[in-house]
Symmetry: C2
């Protein structure tokens, strides 16, 4: 038996989503439930895959199968395709496994031709009906030409305008049956002129070309972008649904509408939606007439309303989830055209999940699975006022680097951001790229916009940590820093001008759009408790300041997985001491400079330990190359030379000596500790003394410091640095008369470390996977430079996701698995975690759960997301057993 | 039974080199052979390892074992340690597994103290003997103080000078017995003053402290440097040999000497060496008296000479290799103190190996194993005149980046190098670092000296390819390019001054040292034929020009494993077309520029194919980031803007757009082909058309082009580029009416590609491991930046070898093995090769053989080295079976 590619609605059911797509599966399910669904068939997603495999051709056996099902559909509906007496008209609609609203193509009224139209009119010559028939015909020609043949819809609109002008009317509604007939004639002539052949009159040809067009639309640019944004694999393909037309625009006893079983914005339980009398679906969308609220249907057509409300109830009960439905009423009879789980806001998602549990319809497990972890972001960050946003138009787009919305006056330097902020101004900081020196300015800004750098650039990482909105890597911006202005798509924005940026979409607006603050409802806590009760993966945070740490703890972080000490080096006076250390020529001079830094650093750690109240903290030792701490501009160098009391030439020589061809692969991480052991000594002293001090204040905290050595590639390298740490720490602890324990571990962020993890585990008490660097090294591209070519990779479907945002499970994941196994082989109780950006990405969190890591660590604002993702991973694992 | 750490000479034999060290094993072997060896014992290398494991302490049981063996030694020799009547005096000498001449410490005359001296004199009051005794005593105090206690030898020399001055004599020889006695007194007083305690008089204390000192000397800086240069693992440790003293300086019937069984410089078969009558070994080395040629001993002491010549013969026969022997004659009796396989020049090594085969002493297999592959280098490159070199003093040292010697006038730009060369001058090009634009100047220079960059910097790689001497990364040079001068260790070298550089040692000389040309003897061909007959690994070359290709073929290359097309882009006019391509704003403009490059590129490939005469060539598509092709200096930018007829600002914007944070991990390799498919199209056209044209000229060549896509990390990426290649190539081949085959493969140089090699092999017909990049990515450090910290890694023994010179078999090798297995799993007949710098490193070649690669590819001058290394690997594998 040959493979089956086409299914009547009556042959499917709701569980066949992979094969039939969401729409097709639900139409089949509604058919099973005995609901009034116009009976058609679904061409499966496998046919779509086959279409692409065959070089964009529909194989003859699939074509035959489609015609065979068409014949069954004719029989079921008692109508015949292309028949003058009793013609079958159909819609052809896409329907992928995941809902992709508006991304792919639809053709309505298919099956019309001159003969069919003549036959219909012959049976009913009512002038309104005649107008309806010709209107449907001209709509079909227009839609088919546009969608199937690529002849733009707008070229037909020009003809309509000409006809209206000739007649002296303004609206389509003012065109009568004859005008519509005339339009059909003109449209067909236009088609022939442009396409060099007659408009296809054979309904079977119309159908097959439309099916192909829907398959093709799977690969159109907007669908590709949507898929990437929503992480829908290209390989899934779309199904095609062929369904008899029902006409909401047949007469005043007809209509069409959409409705939700609960309010998709708030989650309130009540039918929510709107409808139009005597209209087709596209009229609702077009917005020329104002639809009525669904509740008004109870007055207009009480019987139909009752039937619909009953169906809606049954559907929600059946799916145990909020439904989003489309219906059409044809001459007083209700038809269901679609149902699906409704899209909803984060707040609604939470409320619906909690309510459904309270209503006894779903279990807590199911409720936890019902909320998209990424949606939680919207609850934690300010958003644009929805109305104001609707009226605004983006002038450009960058990367959605840190979520939330921001509106403020443009400033171009971190200093200005700080100064203006102190004067009470709300500012958006616009930079070519940010550097660690900009920290204070970044903290003062409502939002950050950068021209260069990707999702894991400095700006993006720091902004996410702070919970500040950030749009990064908008390469279209032409920056003129000297003139304090930039140009974007023809708009010149000067210092002090208002802009608004949306870190959740990447949109940039050249105007002020008011924002509304984040709000966490009472459902949130209850829901997150369910999640926490289910997850086994711990969730820590990446935080470098007491402020961030406190924020993360408030969001449920169970400790700090990554405290980057270098971020502490820029504040206030300490940067001067750092620079003294860098220009030091002897270990003694270096030690003297480090001695100045020590009290600051110890104070920082004490503050962190106090905020954490006994939760663990992994301190990573100095990581970035030293050139990040010295200025590069002439005037700054001159100034610094004066401060350091050395000659400008000497300082320049030091800075030149720090220059690196590839700083990401340069003198950084533990390599600094190997060349300058004094640094590791100072940092150990700071951590240990801080822990001793806070343990003394609060013996109940029982702090056990965790020291993490970065960028290790070889066990002897780790041992060398660890020896410095232990010899320093043991002395301090003994001198304090304490028996405090501490742990020394390492980042696994260099491929070699992953490959030799079994050896490294001999010295490391814990591994933390630094997936940012590990991704860079494994792919061999730098996150800061990859932006230039990754778009071409997405377009050509070489990669479908940004590997810096979503863990590459095939490649990088393989290394992580190898390392986890190697580490456990040597040290069965080794603690394994992840502290890259991926720690806050739901699919990556699921991967971490599945390979048995102990914790993930992510930026504070992603902690709730990671908690939920970890819970979902645990539930999925349980359900799979 | 406890572990045995100490062995009498009579308990060992020559095969116990790992345990007893080379010296100890050979002393034992000579003992077995019944030769006159003063009978002592060896403290094993395991005792050394244990010493370090125990925190630089000799464990009590080892101490006991040493004393027990001392007792046996006393019995064997009929003398007693510290005995007045019949004292045993001993030497304590290091002896590692591999010979490390002069790197570690020796103590002679151990066992002397005031009582022993008194006893010796009491038995023999001859004034010459008395002087000998006190001279020995003062030498011992001096040596022990220096070696064991760190009290510098020079501080004792001051005392000797004072005594000589007081007495009014000039030479040590003029000091009599009383003077020597006085010196002993003064030395002991000096020791007590400096060390705060009496000189140790207990012989057992002297012995144990000396053993420790030898162990310690394993870790001294010069030993560490020597080991790294000679790739001797730190973990081996050294043995210690304790042997009764015999005195060549006892009287005129005594003497000492060293001799080789063949001439170590030429390999001629004849006793070669020198000796001194009435002298100790150190006097031969000191060079105050001129030793006599060994043949003269036949006149001085005919019996002894006959005995020695006989022993020498037996030893060579026994070891079947040229021996390097030390002997001492005490009062007419010959003692053998050492024998070992003698160090020899490359020419001698070849001659000896071939002669020993002809003499029937060794097999061809053994002969092939007898020559160090790296030694061949010296046969292929000019060397300094040995005498002139002896008189010269290096003023600095860089990395030995490309072997050979060069002498010439200093120039600072590639243009000057070319111009001066054309005027008949020999020049050495001195640059901060070289770039591809310098190629012509580099080719014109005798040698290249750079301030920055490592063993695989541009300068190093290109120089090795050309066979030009290069010293790179001499960071001590203070460069003043504007003034056209540089300073090194206080020497100011101006343009036009002579310098000499040694690319085999890294030495830099501020003077002219004459060089002698490379000479390949007749033995070479015969020897290499033996090697070729044994190896299974093919050897190809990395060559980008017909000149290099011809050179490599002359050296036995079996094809080109890596033809880097970008090196062709800099010559003459083509760079202009490349730059037009870079500034092009549309695919059409880019194509127009590429059309200009095409004929050049095709011509290049035709020339290569003609030189190769049918040998295969793997062409790698464009690899470097495009910014390497544009100028960075203001004046050059202005000039280029004029040439390209665009504004300076526009050009600057293009150049700024090409800037990358980490160019090594940026927009390069096949990423260029993904963003600009036109480039791959042009390159395919050039390769295929060139092959078609040359096949037409020479059908017997039967060229099958091999196209290699670089920097692939994902199979879809390879497929994307391969599709461009095949669609372009198939059309051209069909149009030419040809049935030429071609292969498309990929570099494996990104860790992800190695991890997913099974998938990539679906599209790749061959893999070539690009171990330079693979090493960078796996270690996470850039070869250009690692120089800054790798020294600290060597010092701390974190790494013992430069991973860019010698393949890291543990880490990078693991990836290569995984990839080879993955590739073969998918495609059993996949061709596997290596084309990084490691292709010419003998241990790396052995690794490639062992994991079953098909070929290695290396720079032309390393081809003979790789051929020999491959043969040795095959023989070792056979022998191990």
């Amino acid at each position: 038996m040959s493979h089956k590619y086409v299914y009547l609605f009556s042959e499917g059911n709701g569980s066949m989503r992979e094969l039939l797509g969401g729409k097709g599966a639900n139409l089949a399910e509604m058919t099973v439930l005995g609901m009034p669904v116009p009976q058609g068939f679904t061409v499966s997603t496998e046919a779509c895959t086959r279409y692409y495999e065959d070089g964009k051709k529909i194989a003859p056996e699939i074509e035959e199968e489609i015609y065979a099902n068409l014949a069954k559909m004719e029989e079921i509906n008692g109508k015949k395709f292309g028949d003058k007496e009793n013609p079958l008209l159909v819609s052809v609609r896409s329907g992928a496994r995941a809902s992709m609203p508006g991304m792919m193509d639809t053709i309505l009224n298919l099956g019309l031709n001159d003969d069919v139209v003549a036959g219909m009119i012959a049976k009913n010559s009512d002038i309104k009906f005649v107008r309806f028939v010709y209107d449907s015909y001209r709509r079909f020609i227009q839609m088919f030409s546009d969608v199937v043949m690529g002849l733009a819809k707008s070229t037909f609109e020009v003809i309509i305008d000409e006809v209206k002008e000739k007649k002296g009317v303004k609206n389509d509604i003012d065109l009568d049956a004859d005008d519509m007939k005339e339009l059909v004639k003109l449209f067909k002539a236009h088609y022939k002129k442009e396409m060099g052949e007659d408009f296809p009159s054979d309904p079977k040809t119309q159908l097959m070309e439309s099916v192909k067009a829907v398959f093709r639309s799977w690969d159109n640019p907007r669908a590709n972008v949507y898929r990437r944004m929503n992480e829908i694999p290209y390989s899934w393909g779309t199904a095609v649904n062929v369904q008899p037309m029902v006409f909401g625009n047949l007469n005043e006893n007809s209509g069409t509408g959409v409705a939700f079983t609960r309010d998709p914005a708030t989650g309130e339980r009540a039918l929510f939606g709107e409808y139009l009398i005597n209209a087709q679906g596209e009229d609702v969308v077009a917005g020329i007439r104002t639809p009525s609220h669904i509740s008004k249907l109870a007055e207009d057509m009480p019987e139909v309303y009752k039937q619909f409300a009953d169906i809606a109830n049954r559907l929600e009960e059946h799916y145990a989830d909020m439904q989003d439905m489309e219906f059409t009423i044809e001459n007083g009879k209700l038809y269901m055209l679609q149902t699906r789980n409704g899209k909803r806001t984060a707040a609604a998602a939470l409320k619906i999940a909690v309510d459904l549990v309270d209503e006894g319809k779903i279990s807590e497990d199911t409720a936890v699975l019902r909320v998209e972890p990424k949606q939680l972001d919207a609850l934690l960050h300010p958003q644009f006022d929805a109305k104001a946003l609707k009226a605004a138009k983006a002038i450009g787009k960058g990367l959605a680097a840190s979520p939330g919305a921001a509106c403020g006056k443009v400033v171009f330097t971190a200093e200005d951001a700080k100064a203006w902020h102190e004067n009470g101004e709300k500012v958006v900081l616009v930079r070519l790229e940010t550097s660690p020196e900009d920290i204070e300015g970044m903290a003062a800004a409502e939002g950050i916009l950068t021209v260069r750098g990707g999702m894991t650039s400095h700006a993006a990482v720091v902004a996410r940590g702070m919970g500040t909105c950030c749009v990064s890597g908008c390469g279209d911006i032409k920056m003129n820093e000297e003139a304090k202005e930039f140009e974007l798509a023809g708009h010149v924005i000067k210092e002090g001008d208002y802009i608004s940026i949306d870190g959740s979409t990447g949109n940039i607006y050249g105007e002020a759009i008011p924002t509304v603050a984040a709000s966490i409802s009472g459902d949130f806590d209850r829901f997150m408790k369910w999640a926490d009760a289910r997850r086994t993966l711990k969730v820590r945070t990446n935080a470098d300041t007491p402020r961030d740490a406190a924020q993360a703890v408030a969001f449920g972080a169970e400790g700090i997985g990554l405290c980057r000490t270098e971020h502490m080096f820029f504040e206030g006076d300490r940067i001067k001491a750092i620079r003294e250390m860098i220009v030091a020529k002897t270990p003694e001079a270096r030690k003297a400079a480090l001695d100045k830094i020590l009290p600051y650093q110890q104070g920082d750690f004490e503050a962190m330990y106090r905020v954490l109240e006994g939760r663990p903290m992994t301190v990573r030792f100095l990581d970035p190359p030293l050139h990040e701490f010295v200025p590069q501009k002439e005037e700054d160098i001159v100034e610094l030379a004066g401060e350091l009391k050395i000659s400008v030439d000497e300082l320049k020589a030091v800075i030149a000596g720090l220059h690196e061809f590839n700083p990401m692969m340069g003198h950084r991480g533990c390599r600094l500790a190997v060349t300058y052991p004094e640094i590791a000594e100072m940092q150990t002293t700071a951590v240990i003394n801080a822990a001793l001090a806070v343990n003394k204040e609060h013996p109940e905290y029982n702090i056990v410091p965790e020291i993490m050595i970065p960028l290790v590639g070889e066990v002897k390298e780790l041992k060398f640095v660890k020896d410095i740490v232990t010899s320093t720490a043991d002395k301090l602890i003994a001198a304090a008369g304490s028996d405090m324990k501490y742990h020394v571990g390492t980042m696994i962020e260099i491929p070699r470390a992953a490959l030799l993890a079994d050896e490294i585990a001999k010295e490391a008490e814990f591994f933390s996977f630094g997936t940012n660097d590990l991704t860079q090294m494994t792919f061999g591209f730098s996150r800061d430079d990859a932006g230039k070519f990754l778009d071409a990779y997405y377009e050509n479907k070489i990669y479908e996701n940004d590997p810096f945002a979503r863990l590459d499970q095939n490649g990088v994941g393989k290394l992580i698995k190898m390392a986890a196994e190697g580490g456990r082989k040597t040290r069965p109780d080794i603690k394994l975690g992840i502290c890259g950006e991926h720690g806050g990405d739901p699919t990556s969190v699921e991967f971490c759960h599945n390979i048995g890591l102990n914790y993930v660590s992510c930026s504070p604002f992603r902690v709730p997301i990671a908690r939920l993702a970890a819970a979902q991973a645990a539930i999925k694992e349980k359900n799979a057993k």
